[in-house]
């Protein structure tokens, strides 16, 4: 058994902070491997040690295998935690880490290859007899051939980067007219975001729910599941709201899907935290993919089960975690996570970058915030737009929804626009409240842009009064401000 005294983190933003906190509690020092663009971030300030591994572009820093390993060695770490995204599902990275004499906190390179590469994973699932969505997972990546395969599967067809995740390198082909353009685009995004242009095709299920199971293989290779999450609220195949447990599963379905998740993870000799994703339509479930890493939405599982998946990952990598055979896990209450994206919901969700102003996350029972940036940090255009996650827990789903809406309303982010108004609309929508939403929920009800509400008279007056006070006019009543609102405000 190993005992780590220092762990390197090959990631950034809120997940780097999450890992640092787990390490701090375990008495382990941290080395943050960061790019030049990320020196104004919480993780940079919190880590025991920081090492710059390259410039802002991901290919030259966060995706550079050798730079990360050199940084970890120079920082005196014994292990590397890859977080999610970037190199977290890269088997070559996991292998190189091992060859450098370091421990990769995650599954073995073989398990990543078997389960993480979506094409190999589907072959494994076939052997295990798991239901699969019809599709094409061949090696022939010629665009003409891929178009032909798409015709055979029958539109709508979805094209996905084989090494991908998080909605990148993923496009929906509705007909043959735009097939070429979209396949090429997916290949480029796969190359740019994950270092591989390989794609596969899948029949698009048009009223499916996204249900996933958290699995965990302990140090002895014993795989158990940690129940389910539902992530049907997706925009451009990117999850926005996740919850545990799913409001859509019967006990019988939950049992069968949990068994299927454990079966494929066991077949892949899985160790550590992983997620088996399914699509559920008309009471039938199909394996979607396996994510061989910690998931963005892992906190909702932690909240309903009272576990710490990051600590479990670290202990497992030390050879020090074994599932307690006597412990029966029962999910308690309901947890919801909202991803806060730096984007303008009134302009079709275009990224919003710049200097963060005042930031406030309202404290209270059953509220948890995972965030990577504080006031005066800069949100740069180089990386994923997710800047924070808001997680709530309450006794029931309706109460958790109610709490989340209030928490989002009380949260303050100045300096960059966020999707918070969009999240509040979604949480208030009848279909979400009923729990019947499918992966097409967003495109069906919300289109791309929210209509920007006009300011009420009271809001305008509050803004005018606030401006006068900010400019030093005390309560504003006696100033001669040039604000066009001043006369209006004085007239009240």
């Amino acid at each position: 058994m190993k005992k780590f005294t220092r762990i390197a983190i090959a990631n950034r933003g809120e997940v780097a902070v999450r890992i640092i906190k787990a390490c701090e509690e375990m008495g382990i020092e941290t080395v943050l491997l960061h790019s030049e663009a990320d020196i104004n971030s919480r993780a940079f300030r919190m880590a025991t040690k920081t090492i710059c591994i390259g410039p802002a572009p991901t290919a030259e820093s966060y995706l550079n295998i050798q730079a990360n390993i050199n940084g970890a060695l120079a920082g005196g770490a014994q292990a590397i935690h890859p977080g999610f995204g970037f190199l977290s599902e890269n088997a070559d990275f996991a292998e190189a880490v091992g060859k450098a004499g370091l421990t990769f906190i995650g599954p073995s390179p073989e398990a990543i290859r078997a389960l993480g590469d979506k094409v190999h994973c589907k072959e494994l699932a076939k052997q295990a007899g798991l239901p699969l969505v019809p599709g094409y997972q061949g090696e022939n990546q010629d665009v003409e051939h891929l178009i032909q395969q798409a015709e055979q599967i029958g539109y709508p067809v979805i094209v996905k980067a084989a090494a991908g995740g998080g909605g990148r390198g993923m496009k929906l082909l509705k007909s043959s007219t735009d097939a070429r353009e979209l396949i090429e685009s997916a290949q480029r995004e796969g190359q740019s975001a994950f270092g591989s242009p390989k794609v596969f095709l899948e029949k698009y299920l048009d009223r499916a729910k996204h249900i996933e199971f958290q699995v965990f293989g302990d140090s002895t290779g014993n795989v158990q599941h940690f129940f389910d999450r539902e992530c049907s609220v997706q925009r451009r195949h990117q999850k926005i709201i996740e919850e545990a447990t799913s409001p859509s599963l019967t006990d019988e379905l939950r049992r069968r899907m949990g068994e299927a998740a454990c079966a494929i993870a066991t077949l892949g000799k899985y160790k550590g935290a992983g997620t088996v994703e399914f699509l559920l339509q008309d009471g039938e479930f199909y394996l979607l993919e396996v994510n061989t890493r910690l998931q963005v939405e892992h906190p909702v599982t932690e909240e309903v089960l009272g576990v710490d998946l990051v600590k479990m990952q670290i202990l497992t990598a030390q050879g020090d975690y074994v599932h307690d055979a006597k412990q029966i896990r029962v999910p308690r209450g309901h947890s919801i996570e909202c991803r806060i994206y730096a984007e303008n919901p009134f302009l079709g969700g275009v990224p919003s970058t710049g200097l963060l102003g005042h930031v406030e996350w309202p404290e209270g029972p059953g509220r948890r915030y995972e965030y990577g940036f504080d006031a005066n940090d800069t949100i740069t255009p180089f990386y994923d737009p997710m800047i924070a996650k808001v997680i709530v827990w309450d006794e029931s789903r309706p109460r958790a929804i109610q709490k989340m809406i209030r928490v989002l309303k009380d949260s303050v982010v100045f300096g960059v626009h966020t999707n918070i108004p969009y999240l509040i609309e979604i949480l208030s929508h009848k279909e979400f409240v009923m729990g019947t939403m499918t992966t097409r929920f967003i495109e069906t009800y919300f289109g791309e842009s929210l209509k920007e509400p006009t300011l009420t008279d009271i809001e305008k007056t509050v803004a005018a009064g606030a401006l006068l006070q900010l400019r030093g006019g005390a309560n504003g009543a006696s100033t001669t401000s040039s604000s066009p609102w001043a006369s209006y405000w004085r007239g009240i």
């Binding site: 005042h358 509050v462 009064g465």
Partner: protein, 126 residues
Amino acid sequence: MEVKVRIDGVDHKAQAQLIQGTLWVHYNGRVFTQDVSTGRKSRKKGGAGGSSDQVMAPMPGKITKLLVTVGAAIEPGQAVLVMEAMKMEYTLKAEIAGTVDSINCAVGDQVALGKALVKIKPASDK
């Protein structure tokens, strides 16, 4: 900072901050902004697609693909270029019919928010 604005004898509490010429206000569960130089609600230039005779960058990012050439006839909704920001690709489309008048960017360029990337000569001008 926290501000209190008295209206009709009632104090309204809000958070407010001036950042680079924009007033940010959080009041009654909502964040809104005002461009304080004009007093109008601040609105970033560009938007999806941009103003009708030009295609503008709706965000800062990198040009990854040009799909048209100068002089080419285009239709409304036709994709003119692809840009990338935060690792996502965005296809920018023309809003009007016409011909491509000028292209003010090249593949690989890092462009700023609101930059006019492609100018279109409207079909009715011919």
